[in-house]
């Protein structure tokens, strides 16, 4: 197979040879030509076949001529400098970075461009006197980097990046280092003249360094503890905040009263390690977005017709009754009535049903459908926000964050822990009050200090943070670490059908009926080539290995089929009705059941048979279900008709429940009902039609063929190529919970050792200074080693 020099795809259709290189399409060739003639062919030296083939435009970006819209999109706009940021999903390698940062070589009106690779975005500053935004977007498109501009970009102000955690970490680390340095001389408790001289200064310096640590770096813990207490929850931050407060007060008291050095070193170390854990857990996939709604799918503007004059209008300005033009591949942003044109609407976003639906003028069209074919004219029935699909987002599940009934493992344990620590502190305090009152306060505070659950608080962040990275390496991208804990608890998995357990790429096609001769296949191939219907395209791919003859006559009835003649044979290819009604049915072959997608063929009015398209299921589906069924309830929830039921029943375990014809709203309700019955549900879906169910479920996972393409709001994105490993991933999450529990035991052990010093009144600063970092570091080491052992087991399993 020849691969394209530009994009690396296999050349399927016609191979274009140019400059001694092969290209899969003229688009790729054009990109090569542009880059080559601008001395930018280094692009191809940097990485092998780095490109993406450009898509056709035809008026797609006309709305960028509208000054209002441009103004909203621009980040900065001043006389001769305009700055704009785009997300370009096709950015994927160093060649991409290089070419996009050398845009000024292609057009010198572009001043500079900077790529942010993790975000897949580019920031371009240009001069709008010489190049308009539309021209800029078209330029990017021409070299295969189509920016994604959707309704979401409209009116979006540059979001403020929250860097407070890094600042806090920096402050804590800075103070920690300096305090360690200053307290070092006193660890050895040597009697030395100069040491005594400087002791006071050193102590006050430590005090000074610790103030920002407590009041700035540690502030989150106090706030969180306060919130927890007000909600009557003893979360893990309560003992931490208590520990920090006691550490600081006792240490300050010690140096003010000149009793000792205090525990400033342990204090700053504690805060530093805790923040480090938080930072580690905060792994984000900047190029993925986990909280998208319909806005990221919808166009920013549409073409409105007023007295047959076209005009680009922002979609929010569309009112009921406006006439709108929708071109090929454009999305309907609102419910509407078809006025003119051949509508063939692909509702896969809304229903999951992949086959386009043909509509006549006067029919109602729903928002979220994608037009396939020519230009249509529609009349808006509702504004964007009131349309059927968009109303799904007015469901309360989208307005608030997920109900936080979920209690993390750490918080569960912290309740008992806090109570235990407080009672030990009080009991030992009382004991010493009777035995030796001078030591009582000392022991009481020492217990609170040493029992500060630094190690416990670190166990979960480091385990989950590690797992998050391991999942990422295995192409499973989670929104945040807490998803792992929830994933370990699920007992029911609900799968969407189309696009989730089936692939979008391959349809498996089977033929039933009278066998076609070779020449018939040739004519068929030739006829199908001329048709743009998606089914024709797939069928053509199947037949084209034969010789292709061009038919003499060719007539396409949109929504019905094709009529074609070659020499003395005439063919009808199309829907059952189209082929059957006109053909003399001497029914030697029966027409197939209509619920399956099929293309029927008749030759010279004799019915031949039909090609049936069944969904191609993902690799390893049966095994995955087989493995999962012993542990989880499995349910299939499809927006499609039940044409595939038999097929699925054969393939999947017997007790898999299946529900068909589920509207997006029904799916949400279905999940809710499961949860009310005490189930913990994972929803595995793919499209906007699952958005409600994904948001309602405890863990919503989106399966995606191409992770750079937008997916609906969810907790995790699973690359379709690793779908079969889902069970291993769930297992890994459960192992993660085990690791956390072991780490808890380990840190409790440290606490016991520390407590034995504390209750006997022997807690010296140096003991605390050793014990605290030691416990923290050993927890970090333990969790890292354990997670990597488990993940190695997983990656080994996945190899086979």
């Amino acid at each position: 197979m020849v691969t394209c020099y530009h994009c690396g795809e296999n050349c399927i259709d016609d191979i274009i040879h140019y400059d001694e290189k092969s290209f899969c399409c003229s688009g790729c060739k054009t990109v090569f030509d542009i880059l080559n003639s601008n001395d930018l062919s280094y692009y191809y030296d940097l990485e092998r076949s780095p490109g993406t083939s450009p898509k056709s435009l035809e008026g797609k970006y006309d709305y960028l001529e509208n000054a209002d819209i441009v103004e909203k999109l621009l980040e900065f706009n001043d006389l001769d400098t305009q700055v704009i940021s785009f997300v370009i999903p096709s950015i994927h390698c160093s060649s991409c970075i290089w070419i996009l940062e050398n845009l000024n070589k292609l057009n010198n009106a572009i001043k500079s461009s900077q790529v942010d690779f993790p975000k897949r975005s580019i920031r371009v500053s240009y001069n709008s006197d010489s190049i308009s935004l539309k021209e800029l977007v078209i330029l990017l498109n021409r070299i295969g980097y189509e920016p994604s501009i959707s309704l979401e970009n409209y009116n979006k102000k540059a979001s403020v990046i929250d860097r407070s955690l890094i600042y806090k970490l920096g402050v804590a680390g800075f103070a920690f280092g300096n305090i360690m340095f200053l307290s070092f001389p006193e660890y050895f408790e040597v009697e030395e003249f100069w040491l005594d001289q400087f002791k006071v200064l050193f102590r006050w310096l430590m005090f000074g360094f610790s103030i920002p640590v407590v009041f700035y770096s540690g502030s989150d813990y106090f706030v969180s503890a306060y919130k927890g207490l007000r909600a009557r929850i003893l979360n893990i931050d309560v003992p931490i905040a208590l520990g920090i407060a006691v550490l600081f007060l006792r240490s300050s008291a010690e140096i003010i009263l000149n009793l000792g050095t205090g525990f400033f070193d342990s204090l700053s170390g504690l805060v530093f390690f805790l923040l480090l854990g938080r930072y580690f857990q905060q792994k984000t996939y900047a190029f993925l977005s986990f909280d998208r709604d319909y806005k990221s799918y919808f166009p920013i503007a549409v073409t409105r017709l007023i007295n047959s004059i076209e005009e680009q209008v922002q979609v929010y300005k569309i009112k009921k009754g406006d006439r709108i033009l929708i071109r090929n591949e454009e999305l309907l942003p609102m419910d509407a009535v078809l006025i003119k044109g051949k509508a063939s609407i692909d509702y896969s976003f809304v229903t999951g049903e992949a086959e386009p639906v043909v509509k006549k003028s006067g029919d109602k069209l729903f928002a979220g459908g994608r037009q396939q074919g020519g230009i249509i004219e529609i009349e808006a029935l509702k504004a964007v926000q009131q349309s059927y699909l968009t109303q799904l987002w007015s469901n309360e599940i989208f307005s608030k964050n997920k109900p936080s009934s979920f209690q993390s493992l750490t918080n569960q344990i912290s309740k008992r822990f806090t109570i235990a620590v407080l009672s030990i502190a009080i009991l030992s305090g009382i004991f010493w009050l009777i035995y030796d009152p001078s030591k009582a306060l000392n022991v009481f505070t020492a217990v609170l200090i040493i029992a500060c659950p630094c190690a416990i608080a670190l166990a979960a962040p480091f385990t989950l943070g590690n797992l998050l990275r391991i999942y990422g390496r295995e192409k499973f991208y989670l929104k945040e670490a807490s998803v792992i804990e929830q994933m370990a608890k699920i007992d029911t998995i609900v799968f969407d059908k189309t696009g989730t357990i089936t692939t979008n790429k391959r349809n498996s096609i089977s033929y039933e009926g009278i066998e076609l001769t070779r020449s018939e296949e040739e004519i068929l191939g030739g006829s199908l080539r001329a048709s743009n219907h998606p089914l024709s395209r797939s069928l053509y791919q199947l037949l084209k290995k034969n010789n292709i003859v061009t038919p003499d006559e060719f007539l396409e009835h949109t929504g019905k089929g094709i009529e074609t003649t070659y020499k003395d044979t005439s063919f009808k290819i199309g829907s059952a009705d189209f082929v059957k009604i006109k053909s003399i049915s001497n029914n030697s072959v029966e027409l197939k059941k209509p619920e399956k997608t099929s293309v029927h063929i008749s030759s010279n009015n004799i019915y031949k048979g039909c090609f049936t398209f069944s969904n191609a299921y993902r690799e390893g589906l049966s095994k995955l279900f087989e493995d999962l069924k012993t542990k989880k309830d499995l349910i299939i929830l499809s927006g499609d008709n039940d044409g595939e039921r038999e097929n699925l029943e054969l393939m999947l375990p017997r007790d898999t429940k299946m529900f068909f014809n589920q509207q997006p709203g029904h799916k949400l309700e279905f999940i809710k009902k499961l949860q009310q019955n005490g189930k913990t549900v994972m929803m595995v879906g793919d499209g906007l039609n699952d958005a409600g169910a994904l948001a309602q479920s405890d863990v919503g996972i989106v399966v995606s063929e191409d992770i750079n393409v937008f997916s609906p709001a969810c907790d995790g994105i699973l690359d379709a190529s690793v779908f079969k490993n889902l069970e291993d991933y769930i297992d890994l999450s459960q192992n993660g919970i085990k690791i956390i529990k072991w780490a808890f035991l380990l840190s409790l052990l440290y606490n016991l050792i520390g407590l034995s010093f504390a209750v006997t009144g022997h807690l010296r600063p140096v003991v605390a200074a050793i014990l605290m970092p030691l416990s923290s570091i050993s927890i970090v080491v333990f969790t890292s080693v354990a997670t990597h052992l488990f993940s190695r087991k997983i990656s080994r399993d996945l190899k086979y």
Binding site: Y42, D116, G170, F174
Partner: protein
């Protein structure tokens, strides 16, 4: 030994300088994208002499 006071002052000042430098760099966004610069630093001069590069890649293709 009074020099300790000065040394102490110097060490704290030096530490503070680095600390401020860190804060400033975070504020300027240096930590927002920690990947792209690592790739970008490897390009640099290629554009200056695009022609020899082009010839090279052409000749490579021919020899194959």
């Amino acid at each position: 030994m009074n020099i300790i006071y000065m040394l102490l002052g110097v060490s704290v000042v030096v530490a503070l300088i680095f600390f401020v430098a860190f804060i400033v760099s975070v504020k300027k966004g240096q930590y927002d994208d920690v990947y792209t610069p690592s790739v970008r630093m490897l390009f640099e001069d290629e554009l200056v002499k695009p022609n020899p590069d082009k010839n090279q890649s052409d000749s490579k293709e021919k020899s194959n």
